[in-house]
């Protein structure tokens, strides 16, 4: 048990460190930017109508107070942390004066749902099939699955999503390729909306699953093909233990432990992949929001999206790490 507490303490320290360094990096990188949020906001506002110089000067002063850009960088940094803790990161420019945090929170559920569902599908499918492939090494079906995994695994998220977009957008247009739901349905808890959301999620989720599947499959196959040569597996086979029990409880369960560690370690990459995929399919998540914010030079929103991404990914990694002792009885019992 003390081991478990020690493990938890180390992981919690890592969580805090990742959030601290990640968010600080995001803050300092954006503050090196030559873009002055006040001037950008002014440019946007004054491009729509003409104002007297006096009105512009007043607006400039109000906006400077709003963004707090006249203070020295270090005190801005302190303020930034204080405001991040209460969840207020200033107004965004894209949808002025909506707070950046509101936009992030609107986009968040889309990204989280897409990420969680596709990661679950990928993890379960990849490990299950990989485990079976490792156990039945001479099976033709699993061999060809292995070839498929090898040829899909190296292709980056963007390219896979782009290929799917071409296939289902131009060659065989059966699935929606853009947006989170159809324009004709009203958002809410009704059947047409839910169906539309699911329909729109197929392609983004499929591209994430296709990319992710290979590495789990190949990793699990390698692990299992090493475990099946162990003495205890041969012993269980000789003792007449049912095959499904051997594969499920003796082999796969042991192989799953390093895979869970792997899941925690790849979450950052998978998050990047989700963000990229969202942009390809114009999915209303954090990815599209981030890209829009960059194109518009929206300072507060860029900072909000990247800080929240760091916090969310670090939090998710922590949660996966907590699962670890559930699978590995050695940590629990000691």
């Amino acid at each position: 048990m003390t081991d478990y507490i020690w493990f938890l303490a180390k992981r919690a320290a890592l969580l805090v460190a990742v959030i601290f360094f990640g968010v600080s990096a995001a803050f300092f990188i954006t503050h090196l930017s030559p873009i002055d949020p006040v001037e950008t906001a002014l440019g946007r506002i004054s491009s729509q109508a003409s104002f007297s110089p006096q009105a512009i000067a007043e607006m400039r002063q109000t906006l400077t107070e709003l963004y707090g850009t006249d203070a020295p960088v270090l005190s801005q940094y302190g303020n930034f942390w204080r405001r991040l803790l209460v969840g207020d990161l200033g107004p965004s420019l894209i949808a002025f004066p909506t707070p950046a945090m509101t936009l992030v929170m609107q986009a968040m559920p889309w990204t989280v749902a897409l990420l969680v569902i596709s990661t679950l599908i990928t993890f379960v499918l990849g490990n299950l099939l990989g485990g079976l492939a490792g156990y039945n090494q001479n099976n033709a079906l699993f061999k060809s699955l292995g070839m498929l995994a090898i040829s899909l695994q190296p292709i980056p998220y963007y390219v896979v999503a782009f290929i799917l977009l071409i296939l289902f957008g131009f060659v065989w247009p059966v699935l929606p390729i853009s947006g989170g739901y159809a324009m004709t349905v009203t958002p809410g808890l009704n059947l047409p909306f839910v169906l539309s959301v699911l329909n729109h999620a197929i392609l983004p989720a499929l591209s994430l699953v296709l990319v992710g599947f290979g590495s789990w499959f190949l990793g699990m196959r390698a692990l299992v093909s090493n475990i099946v040569t162990e003495d205890y597996v041969t012993y269980a086979e000789l003792a007449g233990v049912r095959k499904s029990t051997i594969v499920g409880s003796y082999v796969m369960r042991n192989a799953l432990i390093p895979q869970i560690t792997g899941l925690a370690m790849t979450l950052g990459t998978v998050f990047s992949g989700t963000v990229i995929t969202e942009e390809v399919f114009n999915y209303p998540g954090l990815g599209s929001l981030l890209i829009d914010a960059v194109f518009e030079g929206d300072y507060a929103l860029v900072l909000a999206v990247s800080s929240i991404s760091v916090v969310a990914v670090a939090g998710a990694i922590f949660v996966v790490d907590l699962l670890y002792p559930l699978l590995d009885p050695r940590i629990r019992s000691e």
Binding site: L14, A17, P156, V159, V275, S309, V313
Partner: protein, 285 residues
Amino acid sequence: MFTVLHDLVRYNIEFAIGLGLMTAIVIFAGLSFVSPVDPTMVYLAIPDQPPSAENWFGTNSRGQDLFWQLTFAFRNSLVFGFTVAILSRIISIAVGLTSGYVGGWVDRSLMFVNDIFVAIPIFPVLVLFYFVFRDDLDSFRLALIMACFGWPFDARLIRSVAMGLKHREFTRHAVFAGMSTRKILFEEHLPYVMPIIFSTFMNNMLWSIGFEVTLAVLGFTDINEPTVGTVLYWANSHSAMVVGVWWWVVIPIILVVMTFLGLFLLAVSTNEYIDPRSRLRRMGA
């Protein structure tokens, strides 16, 4: 060296395919040195011509011959991947060998930093850098930034090997003979991790070229420099698929998938070669 290569080609079909694909891509990229056209010029050819005997890969809507354009694009992308791989290998070797050999609090703190880098989602960070540098974000700067993020996984791998080497007889001999730590790491231990470095080199190139393509397609790099990503960027901005100039999109994608597949096959097959058990199984022993 050559016997190893010969064995690999003979007994490892994946290595042979990977080597073939990469040789083809490198030769293709090398053709850019004899290119008759300047890749930065536009409207040198008739726009939107499908592939023909004259223009092997067709021409794009900007009046450029796609064949020569793509030779430059692949050269730049490969050089980019190579730069990132070299730079991040230097970091991962330094961190991995030191961490594994020295151990103790040095190891713990280096691995803590390592874990932080693993957990930070890199895409938002790269986008932030674009936000700061804007159009000054050229290939070299991007390569430097990516190298800072490309080392942690491999450093951990190298560390695990270095930890094993630490307790081997020859290390102790070297210590007693009065070799300095730096010398032990670079003269005694480095040769042992060379195969890992080679295999992760390929994986790292793949990873960095993948991100370069992604960033460039979104327009987040210097779009006037021909790379695989910027070719696709221009194709998208001219709505090539909608207009029917499919070769502008399909040909680069086929070539880039060949590159990724080639690099990946080289990486996995050398990785397998490092493990003597799987090598023997392959040779039928």
